[in-house]
Symmetry: C2
Subunit: 556 residues, 2 copies
C-alpha cells in the first residue's frame, strides 16, 4: 500500500527531525528559551502569575491518563507549558519566597545546566562520563577538605584512588543520609572469620554473630524525616530511631543522650550511630558536635552529621566555629541544591575514612569492574547525571569568599528579621536564629502578657486559637502569592507545648530588609480578614475575662 | 577602614550580579549556549574530540582539592569547561556510540530542561511545585495505564487521590527497584494486631511475628546489579538474592525457579518477591512474565518486573506481546532516561494496587502533612527536581505512535545487525536479539569450526585467548573514539562457559546500517594490530595442531 508506506516515511522523517533539528529562534519554544536566556528573573516574574488557582482546578489540566496517540507540534506543547505549567508554578526564586530552602540561582547555572544536559553523561561509569568522573571526584575531595581539613598528601593519595571514594554524590540529602547509615551498618557488621558480613548474610545473622538484640540510631527531636526512612529501609525499625529531647535552643540534650545510650546498652541494643545536626530543618540550630563526637568515640559507634543545610557555614571565617567538632564525624551530608545554590537534585555525603565506602562496594560484569574508576561501585544510585559539574562551577566561580559572603549575609539578615519581629507588637519569636532560619508566630503583645499569668487551661485554650490563626495566616499568604513563609509544629519551651509557628529561611541574597518588612505587613493585613478576626476576638474575650493571679504553670 | 568597606561593597555588588544579570550573548558562555541552542549535534561533534587522553592525564586537570579562595570570571571558567570538560567528555549521542543505554536526545528536551531548571521546583511538596505535582501524578498515571490498562473510572478515582500515589518518580531505576522491594517487604510485614509492622519494629521482630527464618528475592542470573544493593539495604542479605539459571535465550528457567521456591519453603524462608526482567541489561531478553505471575500468585508473594529497559516496548503494537503478563505484576520499574529519551536521572515505579505505596508512607510536621497531596510522602527521595515535565513532554510531543516507531526501528536494526554479524566470517553472535540489544564476539569462522570438534581442554584454551582478543578489541575501539560497543562476561550455552563478549544497544534512531557496517569494519582493522595478531596467531596455531575427532564435550 503506497499510501501507508508514504505516511510511514513521513513519520520516520519527522522522527529524525526531532532528534536533529534544533528549535528555530522564532518558534514559540525558541522565544521562551531566548526570554529565559536574556532575563530569567524577568521571565519568572512575568510568567508565574500571582493569581491563585486551586489545586483542584489545576488538576483538571492534568487529568487524562491516556498517552496521546499522535505526536503534538512542539509549538503547541510549548503553549501548554507556558499557560498551564509555568503560569501555575511557584516562584521559588522570588525574594519574598522565604518559606523553604529554595533560593534564586546564580544565572550561570542555567547555561551550564544546558551543557550538562546536552552532554548527557552518565556518572555510573567512566565509559559514559570520562572527564566528568575525575571532576566529580574532585568535587567530593573539595567538600571533604572543607569538612576534614586533611593535608595535601592525604588528598593526593586518595582523590583519584580507583578502589575508593571520599564520598558519594547523590540526588539529594535523603539518599546521602541513607548512604551514611548504610555504610555505618555494614562496617559495624563487616566480614570477620566465618561471618561474611551483613551485606551477604543479612541482619538476623549479623545480630546473632554480634550477640546483640538490636541496633539504634540516636538523634534529636529535630532530626530530619529522612532518618526515619533510613531506619525503616535498613530494617532497624522506626522504634529504634531514638529521638532525644532538645534544650530551649533546639539542640540535643547531651545528658539525656548519654542516659539513653546507657539504657540501650542495658537492653543489649547497640547504638549504630549518633546523628548530629548542623542546621535543623525547622529552626536552623546546631547540635553540640564536639560533645557528640566524644560520646560516639566512647561508645565506639558511628557519628554522622546531617549538615545538609548548615554545611556551607564552614565557608565563613566568622561562623564556622559554630560547627566545631564536625571534623570528628565519620560522615557528613551536605546538599548542593541548598546553600551551594545549585539547581534541585544534588546532595553529597563525605566520609572521614577514605576506605569507608568499601563497606557498600559492589560490582557488575558489564560495568563497575574491579579496579575501574567507575564511581558507580560506591553509590546507592546507578545511572546518574553530571550534576557535580554545577557544584564545580559554583565552587570555582563564586569561590570560598563568595560563599562566605552569602552565608554571612543570610545570618545577618535572619538577625535583622528577628529584631523586626521582636519589636513588632503583633508577632512573637518562637526560635532565635542561630544560622539563617527562624520561627515566629502571630501573638499580640497584650495576649503574650496575659499568657504569662494564665492558668494552664487558659493557656491551652488561647494557644489552640492562636494555632488556628497562624495556620490560616500562612494559608492565605501562600494563596495570595506575593510573599511566602512556611509553617510547622514546634515545641516551644516557654509554653511547654507544641505550637503552630511560621518559618522563615533567609538564604536568598535578593531578599532585602524592605521585603522582610513587607512580609510582616502583609501578615498584619491578612489577620484583619473576617475569618481570622473572629478567632482573634475569641482570644481577646478570653483575655478580657482573665483574672490576674494566679501564675500560669507554664509562665515565665 | 573605608578601603575594606569599599571592597566589601564591591563584593556584594558582584554577588547580586551573579544572581540577577544574565550572560551577555557575546560572552563566552553566551556563545557556547547559542551554539548548543542552534545545533546540539554539531556542537557535540565539534567539541567532543576523538583524541584520546588517558584518564590519568585528564585527572591532572581535576587534581586540586582546595576550593578556590577568590571568585573566577564566568568567561574564564567557561574556557575551562570547554577545553577540559566538554572536550574530554563522551559523545553519548553519537550514532556510532552503540555500547550503552544512552542515545541522542530529542532536541526539544534541551530548552524544556532549561525551563525546568529555571523554575527550580521541588516535587517533595505542593508548596514548592504547584502544577508540577498534578503533572507528575498524571505522568505516573499514564505509565500505569500503559502497563495495567485499567479503565477510565479507575484513573479518575486514583490519579489525584491525596492519600495515595500510583507510583513513585525516582532519580533512576535503582531507586525504583529498591522502592518496589521496600514496599513489598513492608506490605508482607504490615501491622497486624499487636504487631506494628516492620517499618516500626524492624526485621528481627517481623520474622519472629511471621514465624519464618528469612526472606528471599528470586531473579534470573541476568538480574540487574541494583537488586543486590536492594537486598543489602533492606537487610535481607545478598545470600538471599537467589539467582536462577537461564535458558539458552537468557530467560529464567521456570522449572528451576519452581524447584528453588520449594526448597526455600522447606527451609522456612519466605519468598518476598519474584523479579521478572523485561529487557535484560546485557542481552535485552524478556522473562516469561505470565508464568512468573502465576507462580507468584501461587506462592502468595510479590511479583516485580524490572522493565527499566524494555518497558516502552509496550508502545509497539507489533511487539508488546513480548511483555505479556506484565499487567499481572504488583510493581513495574521503567526508566525514562532510557527508551523514553529523557535526559539522565529519571526513573519510575508503578504499582498495580493504588494503595500499595501506603506501606512506605511517611509524614513530617513542616511538610508532607496528612491529607496533603505532597508527593514526598510516598517517595524514598526527599527534595526532587521536576524531571517529570520532560517525560510529559516526550509522551505529548512524540506520542504513542512516535515511541512505537522508535521501538520498532530499534528492534529491526538489531535484527539487521545480527544478520550482518552472522554473515561476517570473523564474528560470532553470542546472543540473538529479542529486543534491540545483542552480544557477539570476534571469533573467525575457521576457529568456530575447530571449536565444534575440540576437546574440552582445547576449547578452554582457545576461548581464553579469544576472551583476551575481545577485551583488547573493545578497549582499543573505545580509545580510538570513533565508534563504541561495550563488553561484558556472558555464559554462552553452546560453549557451556562464560565468555567475554561485545555488547551493542541499538536505541539511537540516528544509527544507520552504514554505521553498523563501520563498527564491524573498524573492529576488523583493530584485530590486525600486532598485539591482537599475536593472540590470533596463538589461536591459529592451536587450531592447526588439532586432530579432527573426537567431538568436543561442548560441541553442537
Amino acid at each position: 500500500m503506497p499510501k501507508t508506506r508514504e505516511s510511514a516515511r513521513a513519520n520516520l522523517e519527522n522522527l529524525y527531525r526531532i532528534f536533529t533539528v534544533p528549535e528555530a529562534p522564532e518558534s514559540t519554544l525558541g522565544a521562551i528559551d531566548q526570554a529565559i536566556t536574556a532575563n530569567v528573573a524577568g521571565f519568572l516574574q512575568t510568567h508565574i502569575v500571582a493569581l491563585e488557582r486551586s489545586l483542584d482546578e489545576i488538576e483538571t489540566d492534568f487529568s487524562s491518563s491516556v498517552i496521546p496517540e499522535n505526536p503534538t507540534f512542539v509549538s503547541e506543547y510549548t503553549e501548554f507549558v507556558r499557560e498551564k505549567l509555568v503560569a501555575q508554578s511557584v516562584h521559588t526564586a522570588a525574594p519574598g519566597f522565604i518559606g523553604h530552602m529554595t533560593s534564586a540561582l546564580p544565572y550561570f547555572m542555567l547555561p551550564l545546566s544546558r551543557i550538562m544536559t546536552a552532554l548527557n553523561q552518565n556518572l555510573v561509569k567512566v565509559e559514559t562520563s570520562k572527564a566528568f568522573t575525575p571532576m566529580e571526584r574532585q568535587v567530593l575531595a573539595m567538600l571533604h577538605r572543607l569538612v576534614y581539613r586533611e593535608d595535601e598528601d592525604f588528598y593526593e593519595r586518595w582523590i583519584h584512588d580507583s578502589r575508593n571514594a571520599l564520598g558519594a554524590f547523590c540526588s539529594g540529602g535523603t539518599i546521602a543520609n541513607l548512604t551514611a547509615l548504610w555504610a555505618a551498618r555494614n562496617r559495624l557488621f563487616a566480614p570477620q572469620g566465618d561471618f561474611r558480613g551483613i551485606a551477604q548474610e543479612g541482619l538476623v545473622r549479623s545480630l546473632n554473630h554480634m550477640g546483640c538484640e538490636g541496633l539504634a540510631v540516636l538523634v534529636s527531636r529535630r532530626g530530619h524525616y529522612s532518618l526515619g526512612k533510613a531506619v525503616d529501609l535498613l530494617a532497624i525499625g522506626r522504634d529504634n530511631l531514638v529521638l532525644i529531647e532538645t534544650d530551649e535552643k533546639n539542640r540535643i540534650d547531651m545528658a539525656k543522650l548519654r542516659e539513653k545510650c546507657r539504657r540501650l546498652q542495658d537492653e543489649n541494643i547497640r547504638p549504630l550511630s549518633l546523628v548530629g545536626i548542623a542546621g535543623t530543618t525547622e529552626t536552623g540550630n546546631i547540635d553540640p558536635l564536639d560533645a557528640m563526637a566524644d560520646l560516639a568515640l566512647e561508645l565506639d559507634c558511628h557519628f554522622h552529621v546531617d549538615a545538609a543545610w548548615g554545611g556551607p557555614t564552614l565557608f565563613s571565617e566568622s561562623h564556622r566555629h559554630l560547627l566545631d567538632g564536625i571534623s570528628h564525624a565519620d560522615s557528613v551530608t551536605m546538599d548542593a541544591h541548598k546553600q551551594l545554590y545549585v539547581p534541585m537534585g544534588a546532595g553529597m555525603v563525605v566520609f572521614k575514612d577514605p576506605t569507608a565506602l568499601s563497606a557498600i562496594e559492589h560490582h557488575a560484569a558489564y560495568i563497575l569492574r574491579h579496579g575501574s574508576k567507575d564511581l558507580g561501585s560506591h553509590t546507592l544510585e546507578g545511572s546518574r547525571p553530571g550534576k557535580a559539574m554545577l557544584v564545580h562551577a559554583g565552587l570555582s566561580i563564586i569561590g570560598r569568599k563568595g560563599y562566605e559572603l552569602l552565608i554571612d549575609m543570610g545570618i545577618a539578615r535572619a538577625a535583622t528579621f528577628a529584631g523586626m519581629i521582636d519589636r513588632h507588637p503583633d508577632f512573637e519569636l518562637t526560635s532565635e536564629p542561630e544560622l539563617n532560619i527562624l520561627t515566629y508566630r502571630y501573638c499580640p503583645q497584650r495576649v503574650r502578657e496575659k499568657l504569662a499569668w494564665a492558668t494552664a487551661e487558659q493557656c491551652a485554650e488561647i494557644n489552640d486559637l492562636l494555632d488556628q490563626v497562624n495556620q490560616l495566616l500562612q494559608k492565605y499568604q501562600r494563596e495570595a502569592g506575593k510573599t511566602f513563609v512556611s509553617r510547622t509544629r514546634l515545641r516551644v519551651a516557654r509554653y511547654g507545648r507544641e505550637l503552630t509557628v511560621l518559618r522563615a529561611v533567609l538564604a536568598n541574597p535578593l531578599t532585602s530588609d524592605e521585603i522582610l518588612g513587607a512580609v510582616l505587613a502583609e501578615q498584619g493585613e491578612i489577620v484583619k480578614q473576617a475569618e481570622l478576626q473572629a478567632l482573634v476576638q475569641q482570644i481577646e474575650a478570653l483575655c478580657a475575662g482573665m483574672a490576674d493571679p494566679p501564675a500560669c504553670a507554664a509562665g515565665p
